[in-house]
Amino acid sequence: MNEKNPCALITGISGQDGTYLAELLLRKNYKIIGITRNIETTKEKLPFELKNRIDLVSWDFTNQQKIIDILLDNHPDEIYNFAAYSSGVGMYDNPIDISKINGLSVTLILEAIRLIDPDIRFCQASSSEMYGYIEDSPQSELTRFKPRSPYGAAKLYAHAMIEIYRQQYGLFACSAILFNHESPRRGLEFVTRKITHGAAMIKLGQEKKLHLGNLEACRDWGYAGDYVYAMSLMVSHSEAGDYVVATEKIHSVRDFCKIAFNHLGLNYLDYIHVDKSICRPSEPYQLVGNSNKAERTLGWVPKINFKELVCMMVDSDMQTLSKKYLK
């Protein structure tokens, strides 16, 4: 028997999570179709090793007919949805676009699955931002969602629609409630990458100071590679469900700085400048996930711990920036 290789469709293919998942699935001999708004810019952004191994198709995330056509043309077995305006700075800009892309587009994908092939398995990158006003800690799948940004409200819309389509139409649709997840591929607008990049620049003598917001802000930070692995486990499980994906450990921005600068033989206190103006409005105070269900049901546990994550990011920034500045 010559079974056809499975085909996965990934939106947000050029982002941190999209590339990690693509690499994971390519190792398992999947055929990967990347969905993107702009094929040319996505090609530029994709890591070299992925460029020629992924087919790209374009979708603007607001057109129902086009996503139906994409499913008809490609007959995917699985769809992973990472396309979104990302969290952090900018969660309050363009709220209408944020809501269309982060929220409504999920309904369009679910409708397309329902119409074209209800056996397609779907996994949505949901977000711990859905919890918003936190009332109890740690947060699990059963904790109430009280989003406090357009980003969180749109993600909650998508999460709730997934449950409707699962119950009403029996679709295999999962919502992965991902807590913060970082990697060397994290964008520079995120605090973690800003720190590791900044520390490396200081080490190389290219910068003198690093400007940050609130140092005491705490997060549950995991490694993106571990988190997309959890999503692949959800999709291959016998039943669809919602899962919190988190490390269950909490660290402050200050902890992050300490480890990052230490790793380069520096003391963070000598370089950090706290800038009140870049604290984001309505900051959720303490987010930490309870991923018992993922561990129990999927056998998932994070493999990379906090210190390893920070050092991995610092090493990567040092490597890239050394090439640039130490010629």
Partner: protein, 362 residues
């Protein structure tokens, strides 16, 4: 003092019409947004409308659409309202399963477009915003009765879209200091309720059965229980919510629950029809005194994911807004039956005089 100005989206709907009348009575200048349609869609407010060429007109209509940001921004800019009541929505739960994208675009993004317009126009301190939230947010209820603190569990694309709108309203209140609040209204009915909502469907059908204009009434889940109030009572509370010192979200309900079957019985009683029920589930039927079957169950009207029971606890509104509903359930049903009866009599008269009478159904 100058008259306050109110802008109502969904002016052509049940609540829009009652609220407009209420606010005009309070001396407001009232502006409404309606969609342009090929046929007139203003029957609920025709009695309020005056030719704008007349003097001292205080009621104005504007063409706009909740799915079109620029129309909303232009109207708000032109009107410069003191209060905005966002009542516009694709408000039918079953339809939301058929049109989930449109439902989200109008019910979720619609209120966001209004809030954004307030912000873009720099009216955060001037305008007060009311969002028509709904008991459908409670869906599969997590406690009985439902109050402001009860967790939400939406069961339809309509409810999910309204959930988004609920949070975005709170979000704009917290992030931008806009006086914005949610009225979590339980079912509210009236003689001008849409004909495809179950209460109005029942009263319309029974009067027509009574007059021999129609044979049967087909319904969905007879056991579904709802907390039904009168829209006229509820719009007063919408206004009250915007008159407080601080914005807050309120549950509005009667605290009394009836099943769909109860509603049928009470409406029939108003027409001196006594219904005897027989069978169960899909085979349940209602017979009149002569043994004629007049009520049947059609699974077509079952909701895909049923919300079985809703019952509200409006103690908070009672305490802080001093609000209690004035119109009882029996009075509500009686009024609906009597208005529909007159309409049916008109049809009967026309029919008996040789004119063709069409009864629109869905």
């Amino acid at each position: 003092m100058k008259n306050k100005k109110a802008l109502i989206t969904g002016i052509t709907g049940q609540d829009g019409a009652y609220l407009a009348e209420f606010l005009l009575g309070k001396g407001y200048e009232v502006h409404g947004i309606k969609r342009r349609a090929s046929s007139f869609n203003t029957t609920r407010i025709d009695h309020l409308y005056r030719d704008p060429h007349e003097e001292k007109v205080r009621f104005f209509l504007h063409h706009g659409d909740m799915t079109d940001s620029s129309s909303i921004i232009h109207i708000i800019q032109k009107v410069q309202p003191d209060e905005i009541y966002n009542l516009a929505a694709q408000s039918h739960v079953a339809v939301s399963f058929e049109e989930p994208e449109y439902t989200a675009n109008s019910d979720a993004l619609g209120p966001l477009r209004v809030l954004e317009a307030i912000r873009i126009l720099g009216l955060e301190k001037k305008v007060r915003f009311y969002q028509a939230s709904t008991s459908e947010l409670f869906g599969e209820v997590q406690e009985v009765p439902q109050r402001e603190s009860t967790p939400f569990y939406p069961r339809s694309p309509y409810a999910v879209a309204k959930l988004y709108a609920y949070w975005i309203t709170i979000n704009y209140r917290e992030a931008y200091g806009i006086y914005a609040c949610n009225g979590i209204l339980f079912n509210h009915e009236s003689p001008v309720r849409g004909e495809n909502f179950v209460t109005r469907k029942i009263t319309r059908a029974l009067v027509r059965i009574k007059l021999g204009l129609q044979d049967n009434l087909y319904l969905g889940n007879l056991d579904a229980k709802r907390d039904w109030g009168h829209a006229k009572d509820y719009v007063e509370m919408q206004w009250l919510m915007l008159q407080q010192a601080k914005p807050e979200d309120f549950v509005i309900a009667t605290g009394v629950q009836h099943s769909v079957r109860d509603f049928v019985n009470i409406a029939a009683r108003e027409l001196d029809i006594v219904i005897t029920w027989n069978g169960s589930g899909l085979d349940e039927r209602g017979y009149d005194k002569s043994g004629k079957c007049i009520v049947l169950v059609d699974p077509r009207y079952f909701r895909p994911t049923e919300v079985e029971t809703l019952l509200g606890d409006a103690s908070n509104a009672k305490e802080k807004l001093g609000w209690t509903p004035k119109i009882s359930f029996d009075e509500l049903v009686k009024e609906m039956v009597s208005v529909d009866f007159k309409e049916a009599q008109r049809d009967e008269l026309m029919k008996n005089n040789g004119y063709q009478v069409n009864t629109p159904y869905e």
